[in-house]
């Protein structure tokens, strides 16, 4: 059997990041990616938070094909008949080094694969890994298209469903309860139009999230990111919520409905749809992170459950890149020791624990449970919009004092037992 230092299953961000680290140190590494090219099948919102990973591969981000730095944040709370938008224009966000950028995966991942190959790593596309090769509980390589290839360490970065790793018993089968579905369109718009619609200076970008009447009250929301000359527009819906929904609805119908909403329509007006995609998102949080290593293998990125949906921030790409980085470090050190057992590879989990990756997931431990509450997606966006509407209303008769309008609304929708209970439950997030 042909053998290399490291095989990486999956040429997404986690896999490519690991490959880049390994190839930079001269290890013989092959990435096997089933897509026509890296980025072909990968879906994100998306915005990449660069701040957490800037120091990991500092040379890379300087030349990366980002779309726009996110300098403005919008959140729209959608109610029936009224919606409220909060716009944050932060000077800090608009000053380099930018904390986050929008990205298009087709472009970004291809570029990343090129960087890996520049360093001497091999990225083999259009090939699917069919099986992990196990020998006495140790992963010794992979099988693809009838060829067996051995490796000291196999890094499994096969994305969210983790079919190979579950099949090999390295993690649990994915459950719908722990996942959401994302649907997304890329809609082309001229840069000038994008800048006008989101109040941006040339080259700057916006992130726009929508909560409330987006997903028929199902757990989820809408997102919109501005790219150079397109926007990424989509919705995310909890799989379990969709399964349980009393009236069954097709996911693409939800996206169509979303685009027809009076709040969204003017934002996408005149645009051309150039891409459509759908993908699962892991939302189980730290409680669902599997064992990250064992004899001869490491799990990285979405396969390791490293993603976080905290309502206004969605993260996964930075975790994928960071986990790839630490996976590479662990393999490099293991090679130095010439010891690829679980004990030697345990370093990987330790470094993730002391990095932002598992720390941030730990901080967010209770978020997945809290956002299961459907009232977050129905009652609150509606209540805020109602209240704002009242504040701005001048009717035919005499108006009430502002303070009593506000207090009335607050009392009605926020100062009740259920809301207080929910607020109390939220203290953990």
């Amino acid at each position: 059997m042909e053998k290399v230092d490291c095989i990486i299953v999956g040429g997404g961000l986690a896999g490519l990041s690991a490959a880049y680290g390994l190839a930079s140190e001269g290890l013989e590494v092959i990435v096997i990616e089933r897509g026509d090219y890296s980025g072909a099948k990968n879906v994100t919102g998306g915005r990449l938070y660069v701040s957490p990973i800037r120091d990991l591969y500092p040379e890379l981000w300087k030349a990366a094909p980002f779309e726009r730095p996110v300098t403005r944040e919008f959140v729209t709370l959608m109610g029936d008949g009224a919606h409220t938008t909060i716009e944050l224009a932060s000077e800090r966000f608009a000053t380099p080094a930018y904390q986050s950028y929008t990205v298009l995966r087709a472009r970004f991942d291809q570029w990343f694969a090129d960087q890996v190959m520049e360093k001497g790593g091999m990225v083999i596309t259009k090939n699917r890994v069919d099986d992990l090769l196990l020998e006495g509980g140790k992963v010794i390589g992979i099988r693809a298209g009838g060829d067996d290839i051995g490796a000291d360490v196999t890094i499994i970065a096969e994305g969210v469903l983790g079919l190979l790793s579950s099949k090999a018993g390295l993690r649990e089968e994915p459950r719908p309860q722990d996942h959401a579905l994302g649907y997304k369109e890329i809609i082309e718009l001229p840069p000038g139009v994008i800048q006008d619609r989101w109040h941006l200076n040339e080259g700057e970008g916006a992130a726009h999230l929508f909560m409330g009447g987006v997903t028929r009250g199902l757990m989820g929301g809408g997102f919109l990111y501005t790219n150079k000359d397109s926007i990424s527009l989509g919705i995310v819906v909890g799989m379990e919520a969709m399964r349980q929904a009393p009236d069954k609805v097709d996911s693409y119908t939800l996206l169509d409905e979303f685009k027809e909403l009076p709040q969204i329509k003017p934002l996408v007006e005149g645009g051309t749809i150039v891409e459509y995609s759908a993908h699962a998102i892991a939302e189980g949080g730290i409680a669902k992170v599997p064992k990250l290593y064992g004899d001869g293998y490491l799990l990285a990125g979405d396969t390791a459950g490293l993603s976080l949906n905290a309502l206004v921030t969605v993260r996964g790409m930075d975790f994928a890149i960071a986990s790839g980085y630490y996976a590479a470090r662990a393999v490099i050190d293991a090679k130095e020791r010439d010891d690829f057992t679980a004990a030697s590879l345990a370093q990987y989990e330790q470094s993730l624990r002391s990095s932002f990756v598992l720390k941030d997931l730990e901080t967010a431990r209770y978020i997945p449970h809290t956002i299961e509450n459907p009232r977050l997606f129905t009652h609150y966006p509606q209540a805020v919009s109602n209240l704002m509407e009242q504040v701005f209303t001048i009717g035919p008769g005499p108006s009430k004092k502002l303070s009593s309008t506000v207090m009335g609304g607050v009392r009605k929708d926020f100062l009740n037992l259920q809301t207080l209970k929910e607020l109390y439950a939220m203290r953990k997030i």
């Binding site: 096997i32 026509d36 472009r107 091999m122 083999i124 009838g146 290839i149 082309e188």
Partner: protein, 259 residues
Amino acid sequence: MNILVFVKTNPDLQMIRIKDRQPVMEAIPYKVGDLEKNAVEAAIQLRDAAGGGTITAVCLAEANRRAKETLKEVLAMGADEAVLVTEPALEVADQAAVALVLAKAAEKTGYDLLLFGEGSTDNYTGQVGPRVAEILGVPQIGYARKITGTEGGVQVERSMDEHIEVLEAPFPVAVTVVSEINEPRIPSLMNIMKAGKKPLAEYSLADLGLDATSVVAQKAILSNLAEEQDRKHIMFDGDPAAQAEAFVNALLKEGVLGR
């Protein structure tokens, strides 16, 4: 037997969108041209049938085209060696200039048989093979649907409209192939891995005794606009089976299917 196969990297046409009647080339993956793959397959079959010989794949690297990957793919299929000619000036070269460079590369490498695709997947001018043959002064056979090795040469079946022509030629000879000649193999993972270790020579124009002035294009493209077509905006209702049927019927009517 020394076989040279000329391969061109083509943009993946399926990935190209048209915007303002121009192709959007940004972030488009490149791949080995379809007919070039047939040519490589033909070379492999000839070599293997002869029980020996060397296949050298030759490719020009114009800016942006992923020539090295193309050559690796061809090496993974079974070519033995590769030659890459890199030169930024080639980006604007026309078929005459490309043919000149390829002919010089062929002279430098040595050859018995020169194999080409009949035309490239993207531009399909069908000029490069005949031009190289002309520059080198070797006979050329086009529309090859079958090539068989003979003592010191080849026998070629040419696919003509109404008939098949059979020709024989001694080496050296240039042959351009059509798609019906074979079904190109898909390289196995192991062969892809090994391809990285096969010899790949890189030449500059200077190495071939040329310079940037020898590849100046003799022709200029004044306009190259894609056809414009409005969307049909047809909605299909009813149960899925009925929708599917109506959809297929509409595609048939438009001539998209069943051509």
